[in-house]
């Protein structure tokens, strides 16, 4: 038979074994795979590589429609494939906003045409992200895009009544509200984490309490209406404590952390380089430690990139004028390896959970025709990522597949390389000169 035989891969970091994939599906695993492969199968020597289920990002900004100078669905998903992702959730803050079935279907189709990764559009909670009236959530859910995640990300659904209604309403189609937790009055004109450094630098502070107040409120609201809520880019120690307490009480809350909040601290802002400007802002070392610990113990469910491309001019300026956000798709796995695996906080099975299984479950894309975040097992779709964890690479923005260059990791040495990514058996990425 034809197909692709991946030999010697350490599935989820376990013992080396062979994986045979054919027609987009994993058809054999382990001892029998080689015999079953036959002579015409393409063989990929994956000796020493880790095999993970294709990664799923619950929080990606693809910028199309509207800001195709920063990113397109095509370039953004190419970056995703290079980062080991087979599915990304495209945030709704495009222009026009993804608040109608028409826009989410357009984004979904663009993803299918590009073919680098499945694009799961996120629908806006409120029309135009204005926080005034609910968008047609049901229409987006029923559209071809099958939206399950709704978010006004970029802004907070701060009106408590509106948030309550949104949480209730999406229960009808098993949706989830992904909240950008930021109390707007406490963060007017905010530029960086509020603390000693913001005071010294004269930059308007973004206090932790502005996130924690919303996280606390929304956890209670979700409990009250019996709906699930997801916290986007959780960034503070206090938020971790609230989510931990909520989970202990069995409340339906999930949370994500970005790779940059796992690695970088607000000290980087001292030189006013807008590459480090992001929302929520980089926090203190104590926050970083709490986030790592929470991701390790499952208080934080997933890693989500908040990949936020911006054109050069949006960062090549004074701090106040610069845009919030940083690239994340291509470096996410390396940052997670660096902060979680190499530190012993998480094993590769844990990485598979936090970056594939759990995000797919939260986004409800672990079922259906073309599911993601499935186990690496016979009969499952061949969404696979091969990782060489032994390499160290210096991050070079110019090598990115993204249209933008706003990575905060420029010049940093990070471990691990995504050697190949397979979307339903088809390689969407393989390193040049590599084995794939």
């Amino acid at each position: 038979m034809s197909g692709t035989l991946i030999t010697g891969a350490r599935v989820l970091g376990g013992d080396p074994q062979d994986v045979l994939i054919d027609d987009g599906v994993i058809v054999a695993l382990g001892a029998g795979a080689r015999e079953q492969a036959g002579d015409d199968a393409t063989t990929i020597d994956a000796t020493g590589l880790i095999a993970l289920p294709g990664l799923v990002d619950l929080h990606t900004h693809l910028r199309e429609p509207g800001r195709e100078d920063a990113e397109t669905v095509e370039t953004g998903t190419r970056a995703a494939a290079r980062g080991g992702f087979t599915a990304v959730h495209a945030m709704a803050n495009t222009d026009p906003v993804a608040d109608t079935a028409g826009v989410v279907e357009q984004v979904w189709r663009l993803g299918r045409e590009a073919g680098h990764a499945d694009v799961r559009p996120v629908g806006a909670v409120t029309i135009g992200l204005k926080g005034e009236r609910l968008a047609e959530l049901g229409a987006m859910a029923e559209s071809a895009a099958g939206v399950r995640v709704f978010s006004d990300d970029g802004v907070c659904v701060h009106d408590a009544m509106l948030m309550r209604r949104a949480l209730e309403y999406v229960k009808a189609f098993d949706g989830v509200i992904a909240q950008h937790a930021q109390e707007p009055r406490l963060t007017e004109g905010a530029q960086m984490n509020e603390g000693e450094l913001s005071g010294r630098l004269g930059l308007r502070g973004w206090p932790s309490v502005a996130e924690e107040a919303i996280v606390a409120r929304d956890v209670l609201l979700a409990a009250h209406v019996g709906s699930r809520v997801h916290i986007c880019h959780l960034s503070t120690k206090g938020s971790v404590e609230i989510v931990r307490l909520a989970k202990e009480r069995g409340l339906p809350v999930t949370a994500e952390v970005t790779p940059h909040h796992l690695l970088l601290t607000d000290e980087l802002v001292a030189g006013y380089d807008p590459r480090y400007k992001v929302n929520p802002p980089l926090r203190s070392a104590a926050d970083v430690a709490a986030l790592r610990e929470a991701l390790a113990d499952g208080t934080i469910d997933i890693v989500a990139t908040d990949h936020a491309p911006h054109p050069v001019e949006a960062k090549d300026c004074e701090w106040d004028a610069a845009a919030f956000g940083m690239l994340g798709l291509e470096t996410a796995l390396s940052v997670v390896q660096h902060t979680m695996v190499d530190t012993g906080l998480l094993d590769w099975a844990g990485v598979a959970d936090r970056m594939s299984f759990a995000p797919a479950r939260i986004g409800r894309c672990d079922t259906g025709d073309q599911p993601h975040g499935r186990p690496v097992a016979v009969g499952e779709p061949a969404n696979l990522t091969l990782v060489d964890a032994s390499t160290t690479t210096t991050v070079d923005p110019s090598a990115s597949a993204s249209l933008s260059r706003n990575t905060p990791y420029e010049g940093m040495k990070l471990p691990g390389t995504v050697v190949a990514t397979f979307l339903r058996g088809r390689p969407t990425h393989h390193t040049t000169g590599g084995t794939a």
Partner: protein, 316 residues
């Protein structure tokens, strides 16, 4: 000397003393002299890049540069490409193409001078003439210069700075410079106008002005914008001035020789009464005069020599 003057905190005690001593000499050379011009910066171009209006600071730098015979170009936000949305970067590249040796920059965004100095857009020396709510190092230098002329060495001197510390670049630069010079600084403000994390600053803080005044060698009043009450920093201008304004009653609590400073422009009746501002212990007008000497010193030290890296030790 440092290559750029971005923060008062970048000045070591030696650097700060060098600037103040040089300013002393500038004052001696130009006070009461027929020819007030020195040829030192002939052929050097100083650009005053003001993204924010400040006639007094710009004029002070302009006068300082001209007294040292530099060519001075004023780029102001009003009536230029700056008000038409030209980016900081493009403006910087333009200045570089024009051959600016020094750029004196005033900007409403904290850190804008850092971007100018560190982004590789220009080779010129950058002097921060006030950035957002961050710093105003030459103001701190002129304040220290003024106090030193009256009080001598500032080590151990008690300096009280009163007012809107949160939004004050003058306060930040003064705290850093005065700490370097060994003075003991107390910041006095309502809690809403003290920044988060101020307990880590090299100074003391107080909410009670009367308490702080008794041992002061100098009291510096900061400008308070009455619009701040709209953001609930304080209830009303009247309550602010009652609790934190310097009037004759409070001046009487100060030691008789204690100085009164204000960086200007003053809100008479708000943070300071006219009676105090015009009193014999007020050195507010002198601060303006001294600003020119201090800026001459800064421009001389930064632009007169080569500026290709750290300075070797001064020859004895």
């Amino acid at each position: 000397m440092i290559r750029h003057l971005l923060s008062a905190g970048d000045l070591s005690l030696d650097d700060a003393t060098l600037v103040l001593d040089t300013a002393d000499e500038m004052a001696r050379l130009t006070e009461g002299r027929a020819v007030k011009k020195l040829p030192t910066l002939r052929g050097r171009t100083v650009v005053n890049l003001f993204f924010e209006d400040s006639t007094r600071t710009r004029t002070s730098f302009e006068l300082a540069a001209k007294r040292l015979s530099a060519d001075v170009v004023n780029f102001s936000a009003k009536g230029s490409s700056l008000s038409k949305g030209e980016s900081l970067k493009d403006t910087a590249l333009t200045l570089e193409a024009m051959g600016a040796d020094g750029v004196v920059v005033r900007h409403s965004a904290s850190g804008a001078p850092y971007r100018l100095a560190t982004s590789g857009w220009i080779n010129a020396c950058v002097v921060n003439a006030g950035d957002g709510t961050h710093e105003h190092p030459t103001q701190a230098l002129l304040d220290a210069f003024t106090m030193r002329r009256h009080l001598g060495d500032l080590a151990g001197k008690q300096i009280v700075i009163v007012g809107d510390v949160l939004h004050s670049r003058v306060a930040r630069s003064n705290v850093l410079l005065l700490a370097t010079l060994g003075a003991e600084v107390t910041l006095v403000a309502p809690p809403t106008l003290l920044p988060n994390g101020i307990e880590h600053w090299p100074c003391a803080t107080s909410y009670d002005l009367d308490d702080a005044l008794s041992g002061a060698d100098a009291v510096m009043m900061l400008r308070v914008q009455s619009e701040r009450m709209n953001a609930a920093f304080f209830p009303s201008a009247r309550e602010y001035s009652r609790r934190y304004g310097l009037d004759a009653r409070r001046q009487a609590l100060m030691p008789p020789e204690a100085l009164v400073l204000h960086p200007g422009p003053m809100n008479r009746g708000m943070e300071i009464t006219a009676e105090v501002a015009d009193s014999a212990r007020s050195v507010i007008v002198e601060q303006v005069t001294n600003g020119v000497y201090v800026r001459m010193a800064v421009l001389y030290l930064m632009l007169a020599g080569t500026n290709t890296g750290p300075t070797p030790e001064e020859a004895a």
